[in-house]
């Protein structure tokens, strides 16, 4: 290859006949670089025009390696000619010029080992394209203040040179003092070569003596022996200024680094917070699985029991375990999964007054709802959203009700509790009258009854007086004032009424088994040392309190002395108008513990094995520890709490606003359900698994998916 160079000019002449542009080339070499390159480009374009298709970056490097001499291979392999217009600067990414420049480099690449292509080179080439694509913003911040080069000059070790040079300039000539040895021995290091030490000691002593000798005349300052000269001094002052600038540069560099690190720490902190939240979510899921396990175990028991029992006594209500204590997931139609969560997808409209009570047997089962000043709770079929019928029989409004499977118990303002069989409520009965088997005189009922009752009875024919069709199976009387809270399980029912008593009933016989007097419990507290809060004066007359305003500004008079009851086995918990949550023993009828803390009447209550949760008009929701009796948690709201239900992971509460509040017990976060929600404050709610029913003051019942 080297032999070809001398014959270069000849070769150039030989090329002349072939392309037409050449004549200018051989002379054009001396012209300015830009025009010569363009001529070069023309030449190579014309010369290499036959070869033309694109190839990728890596292969073009390899093709560069391929010996240029082997022309046939060059023709066959992928040779690229890009006809890149001169104007475009950022060329298309995948083409590569095989021009004379590359050809020129080829011998260097092949022969001379110093320019061997390595993987590093390939890496660089491949990276070039993507780098060129990247955006180049205006430099700002530290980049515009201190250029990289400036920083380089400030931070490289040679920047220190001027300082050391100046120090050396200040070095004063003195006789040898042997300072190094002094220093080493002061540090406790053994000095080597003790032989020479003796000698040097001797010589240094001599020296020292000499110095002292001189010093007798009068010690001169060391610096007087030195004269630096004006030039040197100005140079030094300039160097010092430059060093100061360097320090300034270094300072800005370090400050910008600190800023960057702070930002990184901030970002890492955020990541950590998010991970901790994920941990909380895992905890929640674990609780959910625990509940599911409980539910499955109960189901096993239930299905086993159902297999065994064939004859159930007619009188027995024979229900599955109380839905209030069921923890596991419910059986839902598959379409429920398609519902978006947190949305009210069904609205039941029929009532005309605010909803005061509701309960349902199971999701997509049967719902019973009662409203203010309405003596006929309505029965709905949740699959279709249609009203099936009404429960007729009560004289006053229905304040509380509970539904278990096909059995419904309602407590009314007339002080009676009625037991209904929901299977007997049909659409046809809607306008038909229902008789009730009453233990009292029918005549008496008629006297007391308001406009709802018995009138249609009179019009109807005698066949309606048959007991066959009625839905009301039993009436339990005993309370003298409105029944405001009830809870039943299996055959046992406990009711609380505004006559400030709690009664326990046996549902098989319909008899009241025990009466527990709250007033007595108030005046004879189990623990005399406990001082009750403001609210615990005795209530001689009727109990009536003005509630704090709802979110829409309205207020109610609250007259329910017993806000909520629930029992399990022999343990009963009640929440009453004096703000106390009492735990009773149903065997003795005594309240053995009183939980004080609320400053307003307790409106709703629920407990499980670990906690009691109660809500009251004092706008708080309190979670108590069942065994210890102390407050576990208090959640404050903006308005009075009128209904609640909880499980291990969440508490759903109606707090006097249009939206239903959900409180997450693992993450302590609150959220609100608003989508397609109520237009006035929510008063009642009940949920099972992912199916929530709410009733509000707008007289509507809405069904949500959770």
């Amino acid at each position: 290859m080297g032999s070809e160079h001398p014959s270069r000019s000849n070769n150039d002449r030989r090329q002349i006949p072939k392309p037409g542009h050449n004549p200018s080339l051989t002379e054009g070499a001396s012209s300015s670089s830009s025009s010569s390159v363009s001529k070069l480009e023309l030449v190579q374009k014309a010369f290499l025009a036959p070869f033309g298709h694109k190839k990728t970056d890596s292969t073009r490097i390899l093709s560069d390696l391929a010996p240029v001499i082997m022309t046939p291979r060059m023709i066959n392999s992928a040779a690229t000619v890009s006809s890149r217009p001169r104007a475009s600067i950022t060329s298309s990414s995948m083409t590569r010029k095989l021009d004379f420049a590359t050809l020129g480099r080829a011998p260097l690449r092949l022969g001379l080992g110093s320019k061997r292509i390595t993987s590093g080179d390939l890496q660089i080439f491949e990276a070039t394209e993507e780098l060129l694509e990247a955006e180049v913003p205006e430099p700002e911040g530290i980049a515009s203040n201190v250029s990289l080069l400036r920083g380089f000059n400030a931070t490289i070790p040679s920047a220190e040179n001027s300082k050391t040079r100046r120090r050396q300039m200040r070095n004063v000539e003195t006789p040898r003092l042997g300072l190094k040895k002094l220093g080493m021995s002061a540090r406790g290091l053994l000095t080597e070569e003790e032989d020479t030490e003796g000698q040097s000691v001797a010589s240094s002593e001599d020296d020292i003596v000499l110095v002292r000798h001189v010093g007798k005349k009068g010690r001169e300052s060391l610096s007087t022996t030195k004269k630096l000269g004006r030039e040197e001094l100005t140079r030094q002052s300039q160097e010092i200024m430059r060093d100061k600038e360097n320090i300034h540069v270094k300072r800005s560099l370090i400050n910008s680094e600190i800023e960057e690190i702070t930002n990184k720490i901030h970002a890492l902190d955020e990541i950590r917070a998010k991970l901790e939240q994920d941990l909380l979510k895992l905890h929640e899921e674990e609780l959910e699985l625990d509940d599911e396990l409980e539910g499955v175990k109960e189901r096993i028991k239930f299905e086993q029991a159902a297999g065994h029992q064939k004859n159930s006594s007619v009188q027995n209500l024979h229900l599955p375990p109380s839905s209030r204590r069921r923890k596991g997931p419910a059986f839902l139609p598959s379409e429920h999964d398609e519902l978006p969560p947190g949305v009210a997808f069904m609205t039941l409209e029929s009532h005309t007054t605010p909803i005061t009570a509701l309960d349902f047997s199971e999701p997509y089962g049967t719902l019973v709802s009662g409203s203010q000043e309405d003596a006929q709770p309505r029965v709905w079929d949740l699959l279709s959203g249609e009203e099936i019928g009404r429960l007729r029989g009560h004289v006053g409004a229905v304040h509380c009700l509970q539904v278990e499977d096909h059995v419904c118990l309602t407590g009314g303002a007339d002080g009676n509790v009625r037991l209904w069989d929901l299977r007997r409520v049909d659409v046809d009965d809607n306008w038909g009258a229902e008789e009730m088997v009453s233990l009292r005189d029918v005549a008496e009922e008629e006297e007391e009854g308001g406009e709802f009752v018995e009138r249609p009875n009179g019009i109807r024919s005698s066949e309606d007086t048959e007991a066959k069709d009625n839905a009301c199976a039993r009436v339990l009387e005993g309370h003298t004032q409105a029944v405001t809270a009830l809870y039943f399980e299996d055959e046992c029912l406990v009711t609380g009424a505004s006559d400030k008593t709690l009664r326990q009933w046996d549902l098989t016989t319909g008899q009241c088994v025990m009466t527990m007097d709250i007033l007595w419990a108030i005046s004879h507290p189990a623990n005399p040392s406990l001082s009750a809060p403001i609210f615990s004066q005795s209530f001689p007359g009727s109990f009536s309190v003005l509630t704090p305003p709802y979110a829409d500004g309205t207020r109610e008079t609250y007259e329910d002395f017993v806000g909520g009851v629930q029992f399990w086995g022999y343990g009963l918990v009640s929440g009453s108008g004096d703000g106390a949550v009492r735990m009773w023993d149903m065997r003795t009828g005594q309240a053995h513990r009183t939980l004080l803390g609320h400053t307003g009447p307790v409106t709703c209550l629920q407990f499980d094995e670990i906690h009691i949760v109660s809500g009251s008009l004092d706008q708080t929701l309190r979670v108590w520890d069942l065994r210890m009796g102390n407050i576990f948690e208090t959640i404050h709201f903006d308005h009075a709490v009128t209904a609640l239900q909880f499980d291990s992971r969440k508490i759903i509460a109606a707090t006097g606003e249009n939206g239903v509040k959900i409180y997450n017990r693992t993450s302590y976060q609150q959220s609100t359900l608003l989508t397609n929600g109520h237009t006035s404050p929510v008063e009642r709610l009940r949920y099972m698994d992912r199916y929530l029913v709410t009733g509000a003051r707008d007289a509507k019942v809405k069904i949500w998916s959770l």
Partner: protein, 154 residues
């Protein structure tokens, strides 16, 4: 605000072995701490690019590419250094591309303009060598063909 950049001649001056070593130690120390400041990386990369050894230059360019990717604010300066690095290595194509992008952003930059001239000169020189090669190949080819024809005629 014009970017402060060194002239290409500065790249030909290499640091002493000791100085480069100090820079490398500083870089590796920060690398072990998992936090490399831009300045340290630049110092080391610039020292490498200035060195006459090609491997160093390759490493230097790679480090400059890292800086380019990582620090958007420093990209404009890096364009120049990348162009300079490629120019020293002989990759005139790449050098031209980077330098052209820089000139787009900052047309008045003196160092970039001078670098573009140098790149063109270098590319032209390579072009001539290439041309010579091609001419030599063509000559050789013609000779061979002529010989074959002559032999065939004989």
């Amino acid at each position: 605000m014009p970017t402060e950049l060194p002239y290409a001649a500065d790249a030909e001056l290499s640091l002493t072995y000791d100085e480069l070593d100090v820079l490398r130690i500083q870089y590796q120390k920060e690398l072990s701490q998992d936090h490399v400041t831009v300045q340290t990386k630049f110092n080391y990369a610039w020292g490498l690019v200035k060195s006459p050894i090609r491997e160093h230059q390759v490493d230097g360019v790679r480090l400059f590419q890292d800086i380019y990717r990582a620090e958007p604010t420093r990209r404009r300066e890096c364009l120049y250094y990348l162009a300079l690095g490629h120019y020293k290595m002989g990759n005139f194509e790449e050098a031209r591309k980077f330098n052209a992008l820089l000139l787009e952003k900052e047309p008045t930059n003196l160092q970039a303009q001078s670098l573009s001239q140098l790149i063109e000169k270098g590319a032209a020189r390579d072009g001539y060598i290439g041309m010579a090669l091609v001419g030599g190949v063509a000559a050789l080819g013609t000779l061979v063909v002529a010989g074959l024809i002559r032999r065939a005629r004989k």
